[in-house]
């Protein structure tokens, strides 16, 4: 659980599929046909209201989430969400609107609102749809939809088994934040006035558990979760519960360490955050705004030679898989980094035009980015450290993408002579991301597949650890 208080510019809500609301859909097939019609109607309405080009995205989703705490049901939530976003272009001027209401009147109103905004926005020579020749020729079936016929009663039983296992694992587990089971399925659609319309169904299921341990006066909490497109791929309730309990118990009696400079091993579950900072730094918008610590870095050595970052958008059942990006552009397998050298930026059509390049099919982000390195056994990596820090939790923001300055709260374990000595908390780890990526010494073979960024543990040669 994270409780951030962030000071951020309000991101204008552009036509991502963000709006939440209910729907009384029956099956993905019905929903697919309904969304396809909705997109076509919306684009036709945009044309009728005078737009020279338009694009629209929509989604329908339904699901169930249950939480069991201390052996009893805490919540049963039924989720039914839908949303439509439309962007209209009048030459190089554009406007956007979104709604959760799919009625004909609501579509007319949303298009009218977008058109009204486009009367006031300035002409932007780079605005527009992605090139029509880049649209996905067909919507590949990536096996992203595996519905789970889970009744609330069965979900409650599963959550109860998970939490029960965690609470029985160790006598020091004295309290719980509960175990949750959730299942969601839906349909996503995107279309534009090139005539492209793509629709595909997706599903996502998860099982999570968070428990509290106590020793003396101090408490610690930790959690574990499993997430998959296909319920058959989820870890068992027992595994998730045991792992949550073990992670909590091993944190008990944590302490600070003295301020020092040591190698830092980021465990797989937190290492993906480092890579996500890298992705943002090489994304088109950071590049054209010159708001990146990796400006004009294509062709440059950004990691050691053994590192490859490879994007695999068509991975069956992949959590980040997508047949096309947020602009209808066909996604493709491609390197981002090979032999440690940055090969390209992460671009949608807008940032590509700004930079005089071609879109990389990354409007909306990367799809299943794999970090391939020297794949070392993580136990061996630990044993290779004479003195070092294993980080298993990171806290707070503390990342400046313009300068690369990195400073975050951390918890984990102190290592000496290759052995874990004691749990550590209330410390920070700091450095500069550009230097940290250069100082990457090893990648672990303990791949965590629960994220769109797929990596094992990452060992950074030297960072500043601030403590007592």
């Amino acid at each position: 659980m994270s409780l951030p208080l962030a000071e951020q510019a309000p991101e204008p809500r552009l036509p991502a599929m963000t709006t939440t609301a209910a729907v009384t859909s029956t099956s993905p097939l019905d929903s697919s046909a309904r969304l396809e019609r909705l997109i076509a109607d919306t684009l036709a309405e945009a044309q009728r209201q005078g737009a020279s080009a338009a694009e629209a995205g929509a989604s329908i989703e339904s699901g169930l989430s249950v939480t069991v705490r201390m052996g009893d049901v805490e919540t049963v939530e039924h989720n039914r969400d839908k949303g439509l976003g439309v962007t209209v272009y009048f030459g190089q001027r554009k406007g956007s609107a979104s709604t959760s209401d799919f009625s004909a009147q609501a579509i007319r109103d949303a298009v009218a609102a977008a058109c009204s905004i486009a009367r006031y926005t300035a002409a932007d020579p780079y605005a527009g749809l992605a090139d029509s020749t880049l649209m996905a020729a067909q919507v590949a079936n990536l096996s992203l939809h595996h519905p789970w016929a889970l009744t609330p009663a069965a979900a409650i039983d599963l959550a109860a088994e998970c939490e029960g296992t965690a609470r029985e694992t160790d006598a020091r587990i004295t309290n719980s934040e509960g175990a949750s089971v959730s299942t969601h399925e839906g349909v996503r659609a995107y279309g534009n006035s090139h005539g492209f319309i793509g629709v595909y169904p997706t599903s996502r299921h998860s099982l999570s558990c968070s428990v509290i341990g106590k020793d003396g006066a101090t408490m610690q909490r930790d959690y574990w979760y499993s997430v998959a497109r296909d319920p058959a791929d989820l870890d068992s309730a027992k595994v998730v519960g045991e792992r949550a309990a073990q992670r909590t118990v091993r944190r008990l009696n944590a302490r600070r360490v003295a301020t020092c400079q040591v190698p830092v091993l980021f465990s797989a579950e937190v290492a993906s955050s480092l890579v996500s900072h890298f992705v943002r730094a090489v994304s088109g918008s950071s590049q054209y705004r010159k708001a990146s610590f990796l400006l004009d870095a294509v062709g440059g050595q950004v990691f050691p030679e053994f590192v490859r970052l490879h994007e695999q958008p068509h991975l069956p059942k992949g959590l980040g898989s997508a047949p096309f990006d947020n602009e209808g552009v066909a996604t493709r397998a491609q390197d981002l980094v090979s032999e440690g050298v940055l090969r390209r930026y992460v671009l949608g059509s807008y940032s590509a035009r700004r930079l005089g390049l071609e879109t990389t099919g990354n409007a909306g982000g990367v799809h299943n980015l794999f970090i391939e390195g020297n794949a070392q056994d993580v136990g061996l990596l630990q044993r290779s450290l004479r003195r070092g820090l294993l980080v298993t939790e990171l806290m707070g923001q503390g990342v400046n993408l313009v300068t690369g300055d990195y400073s975050r709260g951390a918890a984990g374990f102190w290592i000496e002579n290759g052995e874990i000595q004691f749990p550590v908390e209330e410390i920070t780890v700091a450095g500069n991301l550009r230097d940290m990526f250069q100082a990457l010494e090893a990648t672990g073979s303990d791949i965590d597949r629960r994220s769109n960024i797929v990596t094992g543990s990452l060992l950074i040669g030297r960072m500043t650890v601030a403590g007592s």
Binding site: M1, S2, L3, P4, L5, E7, A9, P10, E11, P12, R13, T18, T20, A21, A22, D72, V73, T75, V76, H78, N79, R80, K82, K94, G95, S96, A97, S98, T99, S100, D101, A113, S116, I117, A122, N175, M219, R256, T259, R289, K290, A291, M395, G396, Q397, G398, N400, V402, T403, S407, G409, E426, I427, T428, A430, N432, T464, A466, G467, S468
Partner: protein, 481 residues
């Protein structure tokens, strides 16, 4: 709450589909036919707009409309929840059926006769989106862009975001609560990137509240944000590495109150304390901070970003003393947790939207002023950090560990400010850090209206504030020595 807001809510939420109060009574009555302790219906209509300026041009604008109803049924510690984006009787009935499945059928509790919640009138029930013409909104954004670039040639990029929300909510509950609120909210933000000799630094500044866009024109507030963003970016161009290690820290007034939000606030939310998962659980009446600390949560401040006339359960917001002269006095409560803990609700039941469950959340959380002159506080430090602006923070309420990240800070040596330092994360343990507050300034200030708090995936607008204060030891996460 004025009769007006209830009329406005009925007209906006119920009238379009012909729903009556009697229909809502019927749905609640139906819910209570099961073994349900309480139930409520939450209706919401919100309209949101956003404009973005970049490269000197307002190139993007968006408009978003969202409405629906959430149905909640509570039985003991169990909650059933469903929602619909169609505010019509069949959808409402269907959602109610799903929600009440949490409890066995049989048993019957009565629906209390409705009594209108006597909420506050803390802000004008206006539509901020219509409070300025599109031309004037764009002109304002251009004016800020021009000002930022005029101030210093090192300013290379300027981004301006303007956003407004008009939200109408209505709550009808089985306990007899009938509440409504019309909530305007505006926000303006300026971000700049400055460059000097190849070094680039960014900074941003902004503000807002439950007011019309005119607020940004009054007293040159919008221009003030542009000037402040430029000032900070130029300071950061000169920043040296931040120190690393434990040291005295002086926090400036206003937004650095994010300290209280993280180190104190979340840990005092009723749900965590009912469950015993907070580092502050079971500690009412104990000293949890130094005697210099009095901390309150106050949802009744006029026009503030974190203020509400009634909370999202229809309870009027209030001024709640959390810590008085260092002693823990009380928690922030919603209806569910207050009932289970046997205390009164404090008007802190909030939810992101009709599609989310309410839970105890902060409103405006701040520390009362002390007696010290701020200069005297800085002068008291032999070697330490003076942090005046922050990005955000985070807390682990169970271990009490919290972080917040400074984006403008200075090194103090021998009682004087000597140099700006780069951004760094500060980390501490909430109850420990608060007992180390040794000096509190006489300069209480609230933030400018920029805070958004996230909890269990739900975001709500909040406020923070504090006077200048000294903490004798916190860990500063820099890279310097």
């Amino acid at each position: 709450m004025s009769q007006d807001s209830l009329d406005t809510a009925r007209a906006a939420l119920l009238a379009p589909t012909g729903l009556s109060d009697a229909d809502l009574q019927g749905v609640l009555d139906h819910l209570m036919g099961h073994d349900i302790d309480s139930a409520d219906l939450y209706f919401q209509l919100s309209r949101h707009e956003g404009w973005a300026l970049e490269d000197g041009l307002v190139k993007e604008g968006s408009y978003n409309i969202e409405h629906g109803v959430g149905v909640r049924a509570v039985s003991g510690e169990r909650t059933g929840f469903a929602y619909s984006d169609e505010i019509v009787l069949p959808a409402l009935t269907q959602a109610a059926k799903a929600a009440r499945a949490i409890a066995r059928s049989g048993g019957r509790s009565a629906v209390q006769a409705w009594a209108r919640s006597e909420g506050h009138s803390l802000y004008v029930p206006l539509d901020p989106l219509a409070s300025l013409s599109a031309e004037d909104k764009i002109a304002l954004m251009h004016e800020l862009d021009t000002e930022a670039r005029r101030l210093d040639p090192r300013v290379k990029e300027v981004m301006v975001h303007l956003a407004g929300v008009h939200e109408v909510i209505m709550v009808a509950a089985s306990d007899g609560t009938l509440g409504a609120d019309v909530r305007p909210l505006v926000r303006l933000n300026v971000s700049v990137i400055a460059e000097n000799n190849g070094r680039r630094e960014q900074a941003s500044s902004g503000g807002g509240g439950r007011v019309s866009y005119q607020y940004f024109l009054d007293e040159e507030r919008g221009l003030g944000y542009a000037r402040e963003a430029v000032r900070q970016a130029l300071v950061n161009l000169e920043a040296i590495d931040a120190p690393a290690g434990a040291m005295p820290v002086v926090l400036g007034p206003g937004w650095p109150g994010v300290l209280l939000h993280e180190a104190v606030g979340h840990g005092l939310e009723g749900d965590f304390n009912r469950k015993g998962s907070s580092a502050y659980s079971g500690r009412i009446g104990e000293a949890v901070a130094s005697e210099h600390c009095t901390v309150v949560d106050d949802g009744t401040l006029e026009s503030r970003r974190g203020s509400l006339n009634v909370d999202d359960e229809g309870t009027p917001t209030q001024h709640t003393v959390l810590i008085e002269r260092g002693v823990l006095k009380g928690y922030m409560q919603d209806k569910l947790n207050s009932r289970l803990m046997g205390v009164a609700a404090t008007g802190n039941g909030r939810r992101e939207s009709y599609a989310h469950l309410p839970m105890p959340r902060m409103t405006n959380t701040y520390m009362l002023a002390g007696e010290h002159d701020p200069q005297e506080i800085i002068a008291s430090v032999d070697r330490g950090l003076y942090a005046v602006n922050f990005g955000g923070g985070q807390v682990d309420i169970t271990s009490g560990k919290f972080v917040f990240s400074a984006c403008e800070a200075y090194l103090i040596e021998k009682g004087s400010i000597v140099a700006p330092v780069k951004g760094a994360t500060l980390i501490g343990n909430g109850p420990e850090a608060m007992t180390r507050v040794s000096m509190v300034g006489n300069d209480l200030r609230l933030d400018s209206g920029v805070g958004t708090c996230g909890k269990e995936g739900q975001s709500v607008p909040v406020g923070v504030g504090q006077p200048t204060l000294r903490i004798d030891e916190l860990t500063v996460g820099g890279t310097g020595t």
